[in-house]
Symmetry: C2
Subunit: 385 residues, 2 copies
């Protein structure tokens, strides 16, 4: 954690954020000697991270050469693995999407089969984008279960049979691989895509289960063991008869998750096996399904009301399968938060359905890869290698 001011990584940050984009600006802003700046910039150019153009603004004499990220050189991938789908997007170093695809895929087929599929899609997308495999520098991946972020190994994921403790990064030869749970990458994608100026944001995924991704001070908050945001097992009041798969009762997920709602609809004689079926019933105008979704919104709102008091976010985004009927769900969430949270914390609070939608996870996964690669520590490691 020792600061190393003026490192190549710092210089790249100044260039990529547009804070200083000529050699003389860099020397002025950093106080580094002109010769040191030239060393730094040349190393960044040599490694294909930065390019220098002749198109600077003329000031009478020769226009100063502009520095910018070299978007033609590298490639980064975002991978969104769900229970039954796989999305892959290829990005350049600025986060622009170069190519993307989506397929049905069962996570339960196990890591070898699923990752082989991902690998083939990466090859195809790289070919589409006209970049060699060696250009792929980092892969970000979201998976539908808990992950030890430091090692990229799933940690007892309930719906990913065969994946427990599987070292996902080792499957890919070459690029850095960062694996996180789906709701964290969704939170990152939503933040960067729709709310880049918000310092503190919560992204709630309401689907079969219920989870939350936390952006604190612009960065993902994963907590001490990486389990932060696991709100599905927070207790809600008045439902002590509702048993949960975790062994406790009255967990939010056991009363407001898509699986719980489907079960209650079955008890009412309706055909509903999944969160998607619940959504379909609401969209078909079924009043019982509608009532249940709105009640689920209130229960999610009860938990969020407490978290609003605790965390004081600027934005709460509601995503996940159930958010496809967000009129009803978000109404219930809003109603309870405004009733139960403190006025100071709700006064400027925005509660909104996801804007990135189904792309939140793949965007966030790709940006996880790009941001890791551009972090000063990583750039310094690359330049000094």
């Amino acid at each position: 954690m020792t600061p190393q001011p003026g490192s190549p990584g710092d210089v790249l940050t100044l260039i990529s954020t547009g804070s200083a984009t000529t050699r003389s600006d860099l020397a002025r802003v950093t106080g580094l000697a002109r010769s040191t700046i030239s060393q730094r910039v040349d190393a960044l150019i040599e490694r294909g991270l930065v390019e220098e153009t002749e198109t600077g603004e003329s000031t009478g004499g020769r226009p100063p050469r502009q520095l910018r990220l070299h978007t033609e050189e590298h490639a980064f991938a975002g991978v969104d693995l769900g229970a039954t789908h796989c999305r892959v997007a290829l990005m350049d170093i600025s986060g622009e999407i170069l190519a993307a695809c989506e397929d049905p895929l069962l996570i339960g087929d196990g890591p070898e089969e699923v990752l082989a599929h991902v690998d083939r899609r990466l090859d195809a997308l790289l070919a589409d984008a006209g970049r060699p495999r060696a250009a792929l520098r980092a892969i970000g991946m979201g998976v539908p279960g808990p992950v030890e972020f430091a090692t990229g190994r799933p940690n007892n994921p309930p719906i990913m049979p065969g994946w427990n403790d599987y070292p996902i990064p080792e499957y890919f030869d070459g690029p850095s691989v960062l694996v996180d749970n789906d709701v964290n990458v969704m939170a990152l994608g939503e933040h960067r895509h729709a709310f880049p100026g918000a310092r503190h944001l919560l992204f709630v995924k309401a689907g079969t289960g219920i989870g939350c991704g936390i952006v604190a001070d612009g960065k993902l908050h994963r907590g001490a063991q990486g389990s932060a945001g696991d709100i599905g097992h927070i207790r809600v009041s008045g439902h002590d008869d509702a048993g949960c798969r975790c062994g406790n009762s009255a967990c939010l997920e056991a009363v407001a998750g898509g699986a719980a709602l489907a079960r209650r609809l079955r008890e009412l004689g309706l055909a509903a096996e999944s969160a998607a079926d619940v959504v379909a019933l609401v969209q078909a105008g079924d009043t019982q399904a509608l009532r249940l979704v709105r009640e689920a919104g209130r229960l999610i709102g009860e938990v969020l009301a407490g978290l609003v008091n605790f965390f004081n976010p600027e934005v709460i985004v509601i995503g996940g399968a159930l958010s496809r009927v967000h009129d009803h769900l978000v109404a219930g969430v809003r109603e309870t938060i405004y009733r139960r949270s403190l006025p100071l914390a709700t006064h400027h609070l925005s509660i909104t359905p996801s804007r990135a939608g189904v792309d939140a996870a793949v965007l966030g996964a790709g940006l996880l890869a790009v941001e890791h690669y551009l972090s000063p520590d990583n750039i310094n490691r690359i330049v000094n290698a």
Copy 2:
């Protein structure tokens, strides 16, 4: 937020953290030209921030001169204002306490009277420490109510009559003044004093009311409006009959705060007006008071169990008046957290009574002042002034 690598503030950080303590180390670590380093260091010395000694390790020739914080020059104050007390501590720039005092003082006497008292104590402590008033560069202050941190104005504080919107910083001529609520400065003090290595820590103050200070990634998390940590009005289950002063029911504070416990003991025919009376009854062995405190611990634990799932802290510290009977209180907290939180989040979780004790607030307030003063942005402002 533009990074300015190699600024005077960065150089001072390298010196104060011990990362580079000679001019040649600074040049090597930063990549700055030797002449630039000399400019930076000379400016820091000229402003009394850094001193240079001859006591470096000999390497055959002349021993290199060592740079370190100049602890003789400046002074910083921590002020802990409670409902009925005032603590003031004077610190040097390294955070060492030079002198301290404590008096009974009623916050309800209003800002003019209370701040005049603080001001006299500052003069006395500065005289004790042999430093002129002009040496006092920053004051940190914790007050028992919500504060808009950016302006240092209390925001509708319920137990601070006369203080609403009062511009505390303007009372003091000269030093920077940082005002925060008491539980935030207690969290900072506890973290820096007892758990400096913990990345994520919660400090719970269980007294008349119940509040929480949040350290996320080593820094205070204040939230979007500065109201983060207000856990006293989170709903607990099974107490819908307990009305709260906030207008809702079943708030944690309304069932487990010291005022609520005292009221319930009065209903049982015992003499108890305050959290301190509850503590005295427990210490005298009263079984009803003991039962209530333990039950309060369980209710606080219920709320914290949810926050453990959400935030995944490494350490939870229990402080405040009720923590003086922490055997009973913390036992109740632990019991519920271990039953209700997810195993991954509790496996390495430490739940402990406060170690900084009554000094947590005054320490944290003083360090708030020192850390503000030493922040790179502030140092750059001073050096460039």
